[in-house]
Amino acid sequence: MFRRIIKTIWGWIDDRLGLSAQIIPMLTHRVPPDARWWYVFGSATLAAFLIQVITGVILSFSYVAAAGEAFNALIYITKDAPFGRFLRGMHYFGASAMVLMIGIHALQVFWFGAYKFPRELNWITGVMLLGLTVGMGFTGQLLRWDQTAIWSVVVGAEQAGRAPLAGSWIARFILGGGNVGGATLSRFFAIHGFVLPALLFAIIGAHLQLVLRNGISEPPRPGSVVDPKTYRQKYEERIEKTGTPFWPDSAWRDVVFAAAMIGGVVLCAWGIGPPVLGRPPDPSIVHADPRPDWYLIWYFSVLALLPPGTENLFMIFAPLLAGAGLLLLPLLFPHGERHFSRRPAGVAGVVMLLVMVGSLWRSGMDSAWVPDLTAAPISKEIVASDDPLVQRGAQLFSSKGCISCHRIGPGGGQRGPDLTDVGDRLTRDQITIRILNGATNMPPYADILKPDELDALVRFLVSRQVHGSLLYDPSLPAQK
């Protein structure tokens, strides 16, 4: 009796919703059986997106999108709200996971040549999703409305301002006025909370529809060439013969991997916690140290290391060119070999990309180009001299800011050359001339140092010898 009622109710729901008629066939459509673990990254990206939707909506219950109050709201969420710290952590590490997963997903699809016919639009919508994900990351970092956030907006607006003709208009559009201020945060809240998510939902829908329409690509084999005339037919035949239902034969891997990823996000959110709030968003505090979140650190390096003169070209056209190249990729190379062993140019591209982003990322972590304004004065052990003039020179080396850019021993900035053994390399006169006149990337100190200060500084630098100077007496042995 009871079972019959349940069955009737379920039958009614199923009939009206069309679960058995539409949804279940979709879930159980046949897919290539040999895709295995390589194909879990797309669904993991989707899982990360769902974390972001849920935690983002929850956080917005307490967030205040007003420039003067957002910082206080963030402190409240982090310190007082039950689970607030955890949810901020989830949202941060969820974002990190989403960027990581979509990056791996894109690389894997490229590596497998799966962007080729008939899946060109799968790739193109995927590139759009990649762009939107990075956009969500950047705008999300700004909603963490601390000092770093406001200076990130300024840096973003200044870059947009380099665009030809419309530059300053775009910059003003981003800021919502002439300066960062009350209008800025409200705009970014709308973009991060409504505009970009709406686009993401729409394009994810299209992306999934395309996956169903064109089928999951079979892992490539060397020698099997994509020919638009025969591909679809061959694929159908293959799937007919060897395909297995997506649910549950393939889907279990997606679920297991996504669950593990979510577990990782939870652990990080709990153990590491959300990014620390910096100083309040007060543009008049000049002591700032703005850094983008990890996934944009490599671009931070690009901005610091570009040769002057090429900047405008790079800042505006390189991203446009990269975006256009990614979007057009499947239209330029729609057929041919898919296996990486037959695509040397593609392999070279991936290796170059990884090396480039990897090395830029590493130098971004060091940020050796930033003068170290907090470098500790040189210790007595390092000075290692009883000469009062040398000791005074060591003091001046810190107080006049030399140490911000130059290393001596263990401490100091890395912007300029390491001077630990400068006495080995340069004569007294060479050192003096360099200090007075400056050089590329070094300011001249001629009208900053008094003559006696210069003397002390030079005496100190000449005394910086590790192996003994080779300049005066080439016959000296190279080691001490």
């Binding site: 607006a157 505090i285 002591h287 610091a304 002057p308 003169g309």
Partner: protein, 162 residues
């Protein structure tokens, strides 16, 4: 199906698309106007007093704080701004914008080294605002300055885009 049916259908299709397009266009006027309002508004400027003239020492560079030209009621501390004032002589003042001419980060004055240094990408400027090192290509921008009733006043300005 006769030709009358076809032309009727074509008419109805065009009618529907036409109405949809017209109403969308109409509705988008206020939407676009609201969204792009910051572009059409002229940027306000305001003279702000930053202290008594005699409080600035000749040869010194100091930080002053002031309020931007037209803060919104909810701007709070984001309406604050600052500048570097250098009193060159009895009568001459130079007021530098804090924004590095590379990408706008705030430069810090290091008094002993007599240099402005930028924390983002390593720009360095001399005490006159000229580029000493790093990626910037233009000297620090300056605020207009005047003395009124014994007060030093500076003219606010939008974020310099160079």
């Amino acid at each position: 199906m006769n030709t009358e049916d076809i032309s009727r259908r074509r008419f109805l299709a065009r009618l529907s698309i036409g109405f949809a397009a017209a109403s969308a266009a109409l509705a988008s006027v206020p939407v676009i106007g609201f969204l792009f309002a910051p572009l059409f508004k002229s940027l306000p400027e305001a003279w702000r007093s930053v202290g008594r003239v005699e409080s600035f020492e000749i040869g010194k560079t100091v930080s002053v704080q002031f309020q931007t030209a037209d803060p919104l009621p909810w701007s709070g501390i984001t309406a604050k701004n600052s500048a570097w004032v250098r009193r060159v002589s009895e009568a001459e003042f130079i007021v530098f914008s804090i924004h590095c001419t590379h990408l706008g980060c705030p430069v810090t004055w290091i008094p002993e080294a007599e240099l402005f240094m930028c924390p983002c990408h390593g720009g360095v400027f001399t005490r006159d605002g000229n580029v000493a090192a790093g990626p910037p290509r233009h000297p620090l921008t300056r605020h207009q300055v005047r003395v009124l009733n014994g007060n030093l006043e500076i003219l606010t300005k939008p974020l310099p885009i160079v």
